[in-house]
Every structure is written in structure tokens, then in C-alpha cells.
């Protein structure tokens, strides 16, 4: 029993001491990275936009969900620009000009993004067609 306890103490110590290798900034977060805007309407606009901007570091998350420094800085930038009265659509276009359509979770309908929009409809149509055929076959 005591040996087992020693092992678990050693394990906890190892985990506590295992700090990740120096690979992140020690800089304090930007002013509006984790702080909401005082104006609730502006904050709601900012949150809507931040929820559809993809984090460029952890590429499966939106910047609102990401803990990456760059995502925090992007949140602060978006909130500050909205506070100054800039339109969310303009900020989104500004980011797309730099990172590509990829950076938005709400890509505009264009030639290269058409499959994204049309394929679900096509698949739904296929599903209905298959189902209809199957139901008819059952009835007969």
C-alpha cells in the first residue's frame, strides 16, 4: 500500500513539475483579450464576429474558444475596432484579405466554396430519393 502511495506521490510531483518547454510568450494579455466591452450591444457584435473567425494557431477552434496568444490578440483587436465604431463585416473582410476565406467559419458563396453550400442540399435530395424509392418498393 505504502509503495503504491509513494508511486502516486511521485507521479503527482512529476506532473506538477512538468511545465511545457519554453514555447509561449510571457507577455500579459492584450486589454480586451479576456475582457468584455462595456457596451453590451458592441460586445454582442464582437462575440458574433469572434465566433466565426477561425484561430490560425489551433485550426479547429474559433478565436473565442482558443487559448492561443494570437487568438487572444485577435479578440482584443476585434473588440477595440468595434468599440471605435468599425462594422463587423469590414473587420471580417480585412481578416479575409490577410488570411484567406479559410479564416472565416461563414465562407461567402463563391465558385470555389460552392460545393460547401450545394453538396449538403444534393446529399439531402439523394437521401429523399433513396427513401422514396424504398418506401414505394415496400408498398408494392
Amino acid at each position: 500500500m505504502s509503495e503504491r502511495r509513494h508511486t502516486s506521490v511521485a507521479l503527482i510531483l512529476t506532473l506538477a513539475l512538468a511545465s511545457p518547454l519554453l514555447a509561449d510568450s510571457h507577455m500579459a494579455a492584450a486589454p480586451y483579450a479576456y475582457t468584455a466591452l462595456p457596451d453590451t450591444k458592441q460586445e454582442a457584435e464582437a462575440r458574433d464576429l469572434m465566433g466565426e473567425i477561425r484561430c490560425v494557431v489551433c485550426q479547429g477552434q474559433s478565436i473565442i474558444d482558443s487559448n492561443a496568444d494570437l487568438a487572444a490578440d485577435m479578440r482584443s483587436m476585434i473588440r477595440q475596432r468595434i468599440q471605435k465604431g468599425e462594422q463587423p463585416a469590414a473587420i471580417r473582410a480585412w481578416l479575409i484579405a490577410r488570411y484567406g476565406k479559410w479564416v472565416s467559419y461563414d465562407p461567402p458563396l463563391a465558385f470555389d466554396t460552392a460545393p460547401l453550400w450545394l453538396l449538403p442540399l444534393a446529399l439531402l435530395g439523394l437521401g429523399i430519393w433513396l427513401l422514396a424509392g424504398r418506401l414505394k418498393w415496400r408498398r408494392s
Binding site: 519554453l22 510568450s25 492584450a30 494557431v57 494570437l70 490578440d73 483587436m77 484579405a97 488570411y99
Partner: protein, 175 residues
């Protein structure tokens, strides 16, 4: 014909499974190249980030001479490995300007003393504002900027000795 329709779902499933397997074995590259290449450097005026070098502003870049702008940080490990490569390029007459991302002066001074200082000037980008305006996704990144301040090329990640001839050629082409 009837047997074809019977096998169609399995064939479709096989195609889908093939796609997924391929994506697992050969993941799409995670590098996101900047769409801002070909555009002018963003207007910026960054304060000095290190004790021994001046800050960096847009007017330093559009001065007729092509140069490299390297985004780096003292907390970035590949940047330490990249420092000697940048040094070697300065010996060939290349001007390297630095943008230190989210860095503190004491950390940066220690980094430069330890790994060498190839930079003519180093601006401190504490809130990543210039990095975001460049479409940058991390450190290190190196931009070839021509004499008019237009970005000609972006290198994502650490430059190695093998990249030196190509980088120098890209600078010559931006003359």
C-alpha cells in the same frame, strides 16, 4: 444494371473511406500562407524592443533597398536556431530587420546576447498587431520586402542554410 445499384452504396462508402484514410496518412499542410504577399507592408511604427537596436517603422522599409523582415521572439525555440542563418545572410550584405512578437526587453536582450544579433533594427509588437496585419500565423516568419515596401515573398517557419541561396536570389529579384 440492377446489381450495380445494389453495390453503389458500398462503392460510395469505399470512396469516402479512401478519402478519409488518405487525409489521415497525408494530412493537409498546416501552413497558412499569407494572402497579403504582393501588397505593401502595413503602416506601423514599433518602438525599440531591445536595448541595443532602434525600433522599426514603415518608413525604414520603403527606402529603395530590398530587405528581409523577420518576425521572431525570444520565447520561440526555432528562432534561436535561425539566428546564425540570418547572421550568415547579413555577412552577404543582406539587411535583416526584426519584429519581436510579444517580447519583453530583458528576455530579448538575453536572447540576442546568447544567439547573436543579425538585426539592424528591432520593433516590439506587443499585441501582435503588425503580425495580424501581415497575415502571419506564428514565429518565425520571414518576409522579402522590396525597395518600395511591397512584400514579395513569405517564408513560414525556420530558415535553414539550405534556404540561403534562394532567399538571396529572391532579394536580388526584388531589386
Amino acid at each position: 444494371m440492377k446489381s450495380f445499384w445494389r453495390w453503389l452504396p458500398l462503392i460510395l462508402f469505399g470512396l469516402l473511406a479512401g478519402l478519409v484514410t488518405r487525409a489521415l496518412i497525408f494530412p493537409t499542410p498546416r501552413d497558412i500562407p499569407s494572402k497579403w504577399v504582393g501588397h505593401p507592408m502595413p503602416g506601423f511604427d514599433l518602438p525599440a524592443a531591445a536595448a541595443s537596436r532602434p525600433g522599426l517603422a514603415i518608413r525604414d522599409l520603403a527606402n529603395g533597398k530590398p530587405k528581409l523582415v523577420n518576425i521572431f521572439a525570444s520565447w520561440c525555440i526555432p528562432c534561436a536556431a535561425e539566428a546564425p542563418v540570418l547572421r550568415r545572410m547579413t555577412l552577404e550584405g543582406v539587411e535583416v530587420d526584426g519584429i519581436a512578437l510579444r517580447d519583453q526587453r530583458a528576455d530579448l536582450d538575453r536572447f540576442l546576447a546568447r544567439y547573436g544579433n543579425p538585426y539592424r533594427a528591432i520593433g516590439g509588437d506587443v499585441s501582435s498587431s503588425v503580425a495580424i496585419a501581415l497575415g502571419s500565423t506564428g514565429v518565425p516568419e520571414t518576409y522579402v520586402v522590396d525597395g518600395k515596401g511591397i512584400i514579395r515573398k513569405q517564408y513560414i517557419g525556420q530558415l535553414t542554410d539550405a534556404d540561403v541561396p534562394a532567399v538571396i536570389e529572391a532579394l536580388r529579384a526584388s531589386q
